[in-house]
């Protein structure tokens, strides 16, 4: 169970970080606000789940080596193009709903997270409805599909496949990391690593 929760928290932290990269540069102002707000929520979810696992969320968020993170490679990718960004958000939210609702019975916090995720899903679905027939978007979904399968547990993949409407393929599983995680980690932990011992925020 703790391993599952750590995977969830690491996914939320890293995708929140990636979402925040659109702050100030999204294609339209509404998306600037949306991505910033979603990022804030996701990082808030990560913090709350880390607090279930340790006294100090920051220790889990920032003091591990990149190899020790349990996030799925889907959230690590740096996607500078909008089609891929929206494809990832949509795939992630569909996968995340399956994973979170499965946890709700045992983990009350998961039910709280789920209430907020409903708005992320609406946002992702609105974009999906708008772009589903565009070739660039469809190619981005295809390309990221093996990564999306790696977000959920193996017994949840048939459901994800039905929801997304694509056949199951070999997943890019959590455990191994892309080179992009180490790069993101350098940036994400920079302040923490450079702060003198005992610094208060």
């Amino acid at each position: 169970m703790n391993e599952l929760l750590l995977g969830l928290a690491d996914d939320e932290l890293v995708i929140g970080w990636r979402d925040s990269e659109w702050t100030g540069i999204a294609p339209v102002l509404e998306e600037d606000v949306a991505f910033s707000s979603i990022a804030q929520n996701e990082i808030g979810h990560a913090r709350a789940v880390y607090q279930l696992l340790a006294d100090d969320a920051d220790v889990l968020a920032f003091d591990r080596s990149p190899e020790a993170y349990r996030c799925a490679p889907l959230v690590e990718l740096r996607l500078l193009d909008w089609a891929h960004t929206i494809a990832r958000r949509w795939l992630y939210e569909v996968a995340d709903e399956i994973r979170i609702t499965a946890l709700m019975e045992d983990v009350p916090l998961a039910a709280k997270i789920n209430r907020e995720e409903a708005y992320h899903r609406m946002h992702a679905e609105m974009w999906h409805d708008r772009l589903r027939d565009e070739q660039r978007f469809r190619e981005a979904v295809q390309e990221l599909w093996p990564y999306a399968l790696g977000v959920v547990e193996s017994d949840q993949r048939a459901e994800l496949s039905a929801r997304v409407g694509l056949d199951e393929v070999a997943p890019v599983e959590r455990g191994a990391h892309t080179d992009e995680l180490a790069e993101l980690w350098e940036e994400m932990t920079m302040v923490r690593r450079s702060a003198p011992a005992g610094a208060q925020w």
């Binding site: 707000s37 929520n41 009350p108 039910a111 709280k112 997270i113 209430r115 409903a118 708005y119």
Partner: protein, 150 residues
């Protein structure tokens, strides 16, 4: 100090981001327990990423110095916990209050806090804080903020 006095003191603390309502109006005070000289206050955050949480905890500790504040991250808060008085204060401040959850999820009707028209359209699901969406009223042609129902 009695529990009633603690509740009254908490009702004087404004929400840091929406100061027209108090922490009690917002429904985030889960319990107040006074025994001997100890005051225990349990608080549930609204949205998990809300940066106002630390400010709220500090505000309670300043207002009721005897209090020990515990943050409980369970699923006990929803927008249904906002009190009737709190909803009216939100509306009067031009801030559309959340409808009761079940009604909202079925009706999908959003009412303008200024003129009461239900002819409103979504501008953005996300707004200046995690708890708000942006809508536009076609009746009185005013943009307004809608408290998300969660």
């Amino acid at each position: 100090m009695t529990a009633e006095q603690v509740w009254a003191a908490l009702d004087e603390i404004p929400d840091p981001e929406i100061p027209v309502i108090s922490l009690v109006d917002l429904g985030i005070i889960r319990s107040v327990d006074v025994s001997n000289d100890h005051v225990q206050v349990e608080l549930t955050p609204t949205f998990l990423g809300c940066p106002a949480l630390e400010t709220m905890v500090r505000a309670i500790e300043e207002k009721v110095p005897e209090a020990r504040v515990e943050v409980v991250n369970d699923d006990s808060w929803s927008t249904d916990k906002i009190t009737a008085a709190g909803r009216e204060k939100l509306r009067a401040a031009g801030f559309a209050p959340p409808a009761p959850r079940l009604i909202q999820l079925q009706s999908q009707v959003h009412k303008c806090p200024y003129c009461g028209s239900t002819d409103t359209t979504l501008e953005n699901l996300f707004g200046p804080t995690p708890c708000r969406s942006l809508r536009y009223c076609n009746g009185c042609r005013q943009p307004f903020e809608q408290f998300k129902t969660i």
